[in-house]
Amino acid sequence: MFKRLADTGTAVAIVVDGKPVAARAGDTVAAALLAAGIDHCRTTPVTGAPRAPYCLMGVCFECLVTVDGVGSRQGCLIPVHDGMKVETQIGKREAGR
């Protein structure tokens, strides 16, 4: 969907669902996922439909992901850092998980 205008900026290595993803300094988590061509970041708690970043400005909450073990973070507001572990989220929360 998107390409990088210039392949500049320091490389930042993050891990998404256990796989390495090359991000850039200045990326938010949501932008890094879009740039990497990851087509959805979570499924919905009601019908399990896939969702991807929508507004990129902290309003829509579609880009919720688990970041370094904390669930339901707004990916568009969090800058990436080296070694960051991102997990896509699945449906509704199971008690005790």
Binding site: M1, T28, D39, A52, Y54, G58
Partner: protein, 469 residues
């Protein structure tokens, strides 16, 4: 980086939001000797219009245009002003006593303010069409953010749909950056000209007139534009095509990315939760706070400025921020020397001159604001337009009761993406005005925080020993 523990327990002025209004307000107040902190939840200042102004990887200035780069001065002025500017700071609570709940890097603080300026700006108006939740469908503003902050440009088959200046600006910026746009679907109703035309002379005198014409020419020379009255996104797990129609003739375009936009509306969540009175603005089709000439709200000591006060654009937002800051300084430090308010008001008036024309011309059609059938009104809880309409028809009186019946507005976005739709649907079904229907009653926390963040609030020995009541 400022940590939560670095913050003082109180500040004379807390400014919330680091866009043009917040930056201008914080600079002016700090320069006048008022202890000022500015909280902004994004990684850098600039708000949406000047997003990533200090860090953007888009080096060619022509891509984003000089209007964008004008934000650099505001950012550097604010930095030099002495105001404490804290990014990555999410304000999740504000009450009429002016206690500000803020979280920074997972640690929360409650900060006392003598005066608060809310400059939380605007968000894109909900654009509820069939398939608008599919991956591959985004807001135009979102794509523009990705361009400004990360230098990402649309590269697959891209369609843009909607109405309003931002759509054309993004199209021009995308083309200049070498991105791809296959088609623009213009949803502006022809009949809008009837109401807009009388305001054309004013608009012709505003700075937006020449810029707007130049943008339209630039984009229309390169991209096919279709006037449409219906649009939908189709796909299984993600967008595969865009279906649109004009006068009943349906057409389909294969697409990887659909960018939607039908104007912006004030981001009311924080002000509403703080108890600030809002009214319906029929020209801008949204709720706006009730404000005095200095942007003071119905809650003493809380001002709402910038686009949060009603949409007027980025340059107007800075002037509005200055006016709100001058009022704050007068209240907090009457002996301070202040700039000439009259000159600022005159500038603001010039900036706002073309607004009536833009508002009337780009007023989104009813069919794009009041969806029908299985189209989702509430994205978070997946509540359809039909469910909301049916519930209104059998007697549900307002958005707050609708929450209890359908859970719309109760998901993580807290009504930001369905509030206006639900109000308008209830109004349409019950033959009432949106003003009569009202809006969701919002409550803190207006942004989700973890229990761990709450538990991290510093607590004094006296507080620890006190009995909870």
């Amino acid at each position: 980086m400022t940590a939560a523990s670095d913050l003082a327990p109180s500040y004379d002025l807390v400014v919330i939001g680091g866009g043009p209004a917040g930056l201008a307000a914080a600079s002016l107040a700090a320069r006048a000797g008022v202890s000022t902190v500015l909280f902004d939840e994004n990684p850098g200042v600039g708000g949406q219009i000047y997003r990533a102004i200090t860090t953007t990887p888009v080096a060619d200035r022509a891509v984003l245009g000089e209007d964008y780069w004008a934000g650099a001065e505001l950012a550097s002025e604010a930095k030099a002003s002495g105001a404490l500017i804290v990014n990555g700071a999410t304000v999740w609570s504000l009450d009429p006593q002016k206690i500000v709940g803020v979280s920074i890097a997972g640690k929360a603080r409650m900060i006392e303010a003598k005066h608060v300026i809310i400059a939380t700006g605007s968000q894109e108006r909900p654009f509820p069409i069939p398939g608008w939740t599919l991956p591959g469908v985004m807001t135009a503003g979102g794509a523009q953010t990705a361009l400004k902050a990360q230098g990402l440009v649309p590269s697959g088959r891209t369609v843009m749909a909607g109405t309003g200046p931002l759509l054309w600006l993004l199209a021009a910026q995308t083309l200049r950056a070498g991105g791809r746009i296959d088609a623009i679907l213009d949803t502006t109703p022809w009949r809008n000209w009837l109401q807009a035309l009388v305001h054309l002379p004013d608009f012709a005198l505003s700075p937006y007139f020449a810029k707007g014409l130049a943008l339209l020419r630039e984009v229309k020379a390169k991209v096919p534009v279709h006037r449409i009255d219906r649009v939908g996104a189709v796909g299984k797990e993600k967008l595969s095509e865009v279906v649109f129609a004009s006068g009943g003739r349906e057409r389909r375009l294969p697409a990887d990315l659909l960018l939607l936009h039908q104007g912006v509306v004030p981001n009311v969540n924080l002000a509403n939760a703080a108890g600030v009175e809002h009214v319906w603005n029929d020209r801008q089709l949204c709720f706006v706070p009730v404000l005095d000439a200095d942007f003071g709200s119905s809650v003493p000591g809380i001002a709402v400025t910038g686009d949060g006060a009603g949409i007027a654009g980025g340059t107007a937002a800075a002037e509005r921020g200055r006016i709100a800051a001058i009022a704050a300084v007068r209240a907090l430090r009457p002996e301070a020397t202040l700039p000439d308010t009259q000159a600022i008001r005159q500038k603001l008036q010039r900036e706002e001159m073309g607004r009536a024309f833009l508002d009337w011309l780009n007023r989104p059609a009813e069919s794009f604001r009041q969806p029908e059938g299985e189209t989702l009104a509430c994205r978070c809880e997946e509540v359809t337009a039909k469910q909301v309409r049916d519930m209104a028809r059998i007697g549900c009186e307002g958005p707050n009761q609708m929450k209890a019946f359908l859970r719309c507005g109760m998901g993580p976005c807290q009504g930001r993406l369905c509030g206006l739709t639900v109000t308008e649907l209830i109004a349409a079904e019950r033959k009432m005005t949106p003003a009569e229907v009202g809006y969701y009653r919002l409550r803190p926390p207006v942004k989700p925080i973890t229990l761990a963040e709450l538990a991290s609030l510093p607590i004094s020995e006296a507080e620890r020993k006190a009995v909870e009541r």
